[in-house]
Amino acid sequence: MAQLSVPTVDYTQYSNRQLVAVPLALLAVALLVIGGWYLLTGAPANLGLEFVGGSEIRIDDPGGNAAQQIETAFSAEPSSVRQIAADGTYILTFSEGAVDTPNDRNQLSVLEEQAEAAGFSIQASSSVSPSFGANTQTIALGGVLVAFLGMSVLVFVMFRSIAPSVAVIASAFSDVMLPLAMMNLLGINLSLGTVAALLMLIGYSVDSDILLNNSILRESGDFYESTSRAMRTGVTMTLTSIAAMAVMTVAAYLFGIQIMTAIGIVLVVGLLADLMNTYLLNVSLLRWYVNRGVKA
């Protein structure tokens, strides 16, 4: 088994400005991407079925020329078709209103009938109405905001001084924004699973930040000693989580379990961002705070 040793960084070689440059630049890029997305599409991310409405059907592999059969079976073109590696099933997504629905019938009901008529066997199906999706958007946004504010208040109460609290909150903010921007660039849709993951990320991200702050501000030893001690622990923690989540993401993707894939991928990207933010952004803010008044 490979030995896992956490590398020690010689922070004395870099100025605070150099340290924060990378995370701040990445955060700026992320905010640009998210802002640009908002301007272009009216939403900060690619909204998935749960937020905009639509229908989804998972069918067994019909055998033969599947793509051809799927195309002829339905009266509308699916907005996406994906085959699941583990069992060969196909997941088809249709945007709301794509299918002509006589007599106010539910779109998914029509699609299910077309699928059955074509001899497909339906393994799973789901539909979300646009109005319900719009509601979900508001609530999800509200939930993330409330969670973030709650976390900020808690951090302030715990540290009772501004700079360390801001350091923690800033890096948590960046931990949430970077995966969001990454999802846009990778073409991953925002779903309920990803929202849960973003909330989880707030919890995970604060872990290592608090460890760092605590080690530097409340424990004995000089700044660099404390930092490397916290880093030894923190990096181990984060790597453990990343490993667990990466495995979950890959396996869930192969099995076609979308909610776990979504949670996993956001956490992997977010935790990577957290490594950077904690040990570049947070460290330098703390170093400035500890040495304030002392001319460097």
Binding site: S109, I122, A124, F132, V146, A196, M200, A244, I257
Partner: protein, 522 residues
Amino acid sequence: MIEKLKSNWRLTLLAVILLVSLFVVFSPTMAPQTNVGGENATTEERLTNLQYGLDLAGGTRIRAPLIGMTAETVDIGDESTTNVAAAVAGELPDSDTTDVSVRRGTLNGPTVEVVDPDVSESEFGDALDAAGYSYGSIRDGLTQETRDEAINVIEGKVNQAGLSGASVQQVTDGTGFFMLIEVPGQDRSNVIDLIEQRGNVQIDIYHENDDGEYVTERAVLTQDDFASISNAQQSDAQTGPRVPVSIRQEDGIAEQFQSTVVETGVAQQGGATCRYEENPQNTDPCLQLVVDGEVINSFGMNSDLAASMRNGEWAQSPSFVLTTTSFEEAQDIAINLRAGALPAPLAIDQGTTSFISPTQGENFRTDSLIIGILAILTVSGVVFARYREPQVALPMILTAFSEVLILLGFAAYLEYPLDLSVIASFIAVLGTGVDDLVIIADGVMAEGDVSSRRVFSSRFKKAFWVIGVAAATTIIAMSPLAVLSLGDLRGFAIFTILGVLVGVFVTRPAYGDILRNLLTDR
């Protein structure tokens, strides 16, 4: 021995809780009772007492709002609620009294609700004004009483249809209320067919009036007028598929029906032959079976029954047969009559539906087990690679794993249905759990040997402060999801929070005990 247990009480507590959890999960004595509609419930032989949600067992979930508006604090004086309903319905263009319901004693004073989707808010207001009732305000949505009634009716329908293990509840997204209906093992279309219709069954009479014009006398019999409803019967030589029923004799209901049938000519001498389907402008009077405003079947009356109606004998034992055109229809009618009509239509198009086939559910069950095992192996691998000392790493992995076991115990005890999102939360908890154990281990072993208990416990406390704050943050971050019962993420949030609590109060302190025993001399 006792001394030892005492000084390691945290470890002892963990052991006890673990045993209890294992007992709850595996002991057949703790097996859950079957829920609603147990008739067809099959008690399979199962290894554990865990309940599986729709994701993992297969079935249909429908989340939909009830359509309707409520006028609050309506001034209806002492007037009877039926009169008020009739007056308001009379002022609305196409609404029946079944579309209007009036209640006293709700939280917001007397209320009037309209459940006809074609009525706009201003039309409703105008109708109230025209009928002479002043009101406080009109809002979207219905009263709690009506929603409760709807839950009862849907449960009744599901039970009558013999679908076992179904659950019906009300959830809110903060802006409005939704009915959440979960039926294991059923196709989506079956469930929708069952609940989509309000199921308002009534009998109309189609006949010629004195001027020779054909008119329909509405709602001669309604849902409440039936005393007993037999099972639907297949068609045979004499009659088609049918539901035998009897009419209530109280309040002269049977007699009134009898006289209406005689007056309109359905019970004419020699009976009536209904030709409504072929030639509505040239037919004997007909009885019409109407469901949700739609004529299901029209039928006449044979001469024997007509004769007993004419001489008044029928009302002494008022049994009656509702004939339909198909057996399925007869079954639906029987279900609707027994369960009653939904007080408001469900707007399935404004909600969500999801269906998982039982085979897919079974696959997901195996898949998520594999993912869980892979996650545990990965975490173990990383921890071993980092510490290289089995005496530190092994207890760490066992402790983290025991958190998941305790959570499974909770799930079995609460009979909480396991879904994919709950499984995801187990993995997330495993992740945070190991994180915190790493903090404890590193914190305690950081500066050289920990030979004395005093040093140990001071370091442990320091490490625990970090864990406590991190746990509090996770709980705060997750609580919006746990409170808002929207979407499928409630389980994820609830079990993540539970896991964090179990970790902070039980398993992580116990890991401290283990480390202390390993590291200190005394």
